[in-house]
């Protein structure tokens, strides 16, 4: 009798949370009260669950917002007051960048050596990754791991030898010098990513192609490349990202003709002080290419971070 009543009360407490304590039996009342309290608590925590992500996103977006905000302000507004929105919005900063050759050539230089680097890295990494994924040879695993360890060295370590080497060959201040220097880091990364994607393709596809009569180059271009297209995209993206944000090597190896945008940005300090607005506008424009590139590989990016291994 008690049992059935308690069960009844519990059932009721599930449907009508707050009415439960009104149940006749004392024990059943207490238990359903506790349950109701628990339910209420869970409801409260659900009500506040948006809070943490929101705080996180605000913290994440704040610097970016501030950068964009600043880029539309005048220097006077930036240094004299703290405003959430530009009081006198101006495009002057952007106009300066797009019209002053010393500014926009920074972007052009950066894009040139980044693209060169992407092409060289992926072109070198494709055959290497294929070899690592398809053939067993003496020391293959060691070489493969050693490739990755290249990435563990800070770029600054290589600045001096690179500078010395490129000076000797008269390559200082050329785009290709920076592109090649970045290959030291990007080729191993691209090899690792592509190897992961390639190992996901069964070897039997290669063999079927050979049996059908494909020669190796033809198979590689007609059959294999389309299969790992997303891998190539991801590898290229990672090369782009590294090369685009890398400052130290790029700055050391260039002077005038191949000066990257990040180096140009340091010039805003003049006798009249820092040109804040201009610097902010340059910063915004630096973010844009990355955002565009990441859009294209957004579906595969997670696999890229796993170095192609899933």
């Amino acid at each position: 009798m008690v049992n059935s009543e308690e069960r009844l009360a519990r059932n009721r407490s599930e449907s009508v949370m707050r009415d439960a304590p009104a149940g006749g039996h004392a024990a059943s009342g207490a238990s359903s009260d506790a349950m109701a309290r628990r339910m209420r608590k869970r409801g409260e925590s659900a009500r506040w669950s948006w809070l943490v992500p929101t705080i996180y996103i605000v913290f994440l977006m704040l610097p970016i917002y501030w950068l964009v905000n600043m880029s539309f302000k005048t220097n006077h507004e930036i240094v004299t007051s703290l405003t959430l929105f530009p009081r006198q919005p101006t495009l002057q900063n952007y106009v300066t960048i797009f019209t002053d050759r010393s500014w926009y050539s920074g972007y052009v230089n950066s894009i040139i050596y980044v693209v060169e680097n992407m092409v060289i890295s992926v072109a070198c990494a494709l055959p290497a990754a294929y070899a690592f994924s398809r053939y067993r040879f003496l020391g293959d695993k060691h070489v493969f791991f050693w490739l990755l360890t290249n990435r563990m060295a800070p770029p600054a370590v290589f600045a001096l030898p690179f500078f010395q080497l490129y000076s000797a060959f008269g390559m200082i201040d050329t785009h290709i010098a920076v592109a090649l220097a970045h290959c030291l880091f990007n080729v191993p990364l691209a090899v690792w990513i592509l190897e992961g994607f390639m190992s996901g393709i069964p070897k039997e596809i290669d063999e079927t192609a050979y049996i059908d009569g494909y020669s190796f180059p033809r198979f590689f271009i007609r059959i294999f490349i389309p299969l790992i297209a997303s891998g190539i995209g991801v590898a290229a993206f990672f090369c782009f990202m590294f090369s685009w944000v890398e400052l130290l090597l790029a700055r050391t190896l260039t002077t005038v003709n191949a000066k990257p945008i990040a180096a140009v940005m340091t010039r805003t300090v003049s006798a009249a002080g820092i040109d804040w607005g201009l610097l902010a506008a340059a910063g915004v424009l630096t973010l844009i290419p990355g955002a565009i590139v990441i859009y294209f590989v957004r579906n595969y990016i997670a696999r890229g971070f796993a170095l192609g291994r899933v």
Binding site: P202, E204, I205, E207, T208, A209, Y210, I211, D212, G213, Y214, S215, I223, P226, L227
Partner: protein, 360 residues
């Protein structure tokens, strides 16, 4: 004609294929039968030219093709996994061997549509392989192998990953489809019943060795040794060690069997008697059948048949009994075997057939 002459394949410290001689006639169907890791695929890869044998020669129509790259051979191969070119349409997949051979457009189109029709792929020609079902994917691979009109067609367990019904269908169709081309047809399988259904010739493989090659039924009925007999039996072959004394096979002190007529002339000594699961029955099938007491350990009922696993002394037997039989586990039952349906193997595994040896 495809000939393997003293071919071996050694990878690292492992011998995948021990010295093998095989010859497949043009226009024949050959089954490679053996359990997993018995070397079926390794052997096929050597035949195809995907791998180079460590030693020995591969001849095709009398010509040495040992080092010839696979592109230059007239070979088609279908794998157990469904292997197609995912980035191409089914049409392009099927067309690819002919396209590479430089066929003109009209011929190519006709051939592709013909092969697609045969494999019932016509409605899917514009789709890509990965959007098809497993059976359709495998049929695409088969159509591609078919269209090439190669003189050597290798099928490596092509039907394993298909569902039951499709398997039955394709198994019946495949030999017919390919026999029209006059190619040498090699089919690898782990299932003895599949080998028997396909017919032709069978080479049984065990641990990288070809144990016997001959007409399928012949290999099944007269295995050369115990290893072959075991490979070619599913459910597993029942065996029992016996000592022959005169006209009796003594199993132990209490139990013995009469020696059938044809084996009387064999010398006395230790032997292994073997018989197929369907030759074991719950009731005597013939007047000559001998009853043996065994303990039931597992029964599996498939509907039309019952597999009864029995413990006889310290060996495990399987009885394939028609109909449904409900037996208690642990129950002791009398099972009957006709000694005339037994095979006899010497202690080294050689089959003993005194009569035939005389005839030969």
């Amino acid at each position: 004609m495809l000939e393997l002459e003293r071919v071996t394949k050694i990878v690292g410290s492992q011998t995948h294929i021990h010295e093998t001689d095989l010859a497949f006639e043009t226009g024949t169907l050959n089954v490679l039968l053996g359990p997993t890791l018995s070397g079926k695929t390794s052997l096929m890869r050597l035949m195809a030219g995907l791998d180079r044998p460590t030693s020995g020669t591969v001849r095709f129509d009398g010509k040495d093709v040992t080092g010839l790259p696979v592109q230059k051979r007239s070979v088609a191969m279908v794998y157990q996994q469904f292997i197609n070119y995912p980035a191409m349409t089914v049409y392009e997949n099927i067309a690819s061997p002919l396209r590479l051979a430089g066929a003109d457009k009209a011929t190519l189109d006709r051939e592709v549509r013909e092969a697609a029709e045969l494999m019932r792929l016509t409605p899917f020609l514009d789709r890509t392989p990965l959007t098809l079902s497993g059976g359709q994917q495998q049929r695409t691979a088969l159509a591609r192998a078919l269209i090439k009109k190669a003189s050597l067609v290798l099928l490596d367990e092509p039907l394993v990953n298909l569902d039951y019904k499709l398997r039955e269908e394709l198994r019946a169709e495949l030999p017919r489809i390919f026999s029209e081309s006059g190619a040498i047809f090699v089919y690898a399988t782990t299932e003895p019943s599949e080998a028997l259904l396909l017919g032709g010739n069978t080479a049984t493989l065990s641990e990288g060795r070809v144990t016997q090659y001959g007409p399928t039924v012949d290999v099944f009925r007269r295995p050369r040794d115990l290893l072959t007999a075991r490979t070619f039996a599913d459910p597993p072959l029942n065996t029992i060690d016996v000592v022959k004394r005169g006209d009796r096979f003594r199993i132990d002190e209490a139990v013995d069997l009469p020696v059938p007529e044809r084996l009387r002339s064999a010398a006395d000594g230790s032997y292994t008697v073997a018989f197929q699961p369907n030759h074991l029955a719950l009731a005597p099938q013939t007047p000559e059948a001998v009853g043996l007491k065994a303990k039931v350990s597992v029964t599996e009922i498939t509907g039309s048949e019952t597999y009864v696993h029995l413990d006889f002394a310290d060996v495990r037997w399987v009885m394939l009994a028609p109909g449904i039989h409900v037996l208690e586990i642990g129950e002791t039952v009398e099972v009957y075997v006709d000694p005339r349906h037994t095979m006899l193997f010497a202690s080294d595994g050689e089959a003993v057939r005194p009569g035939e040896r005389l005839a030969a």
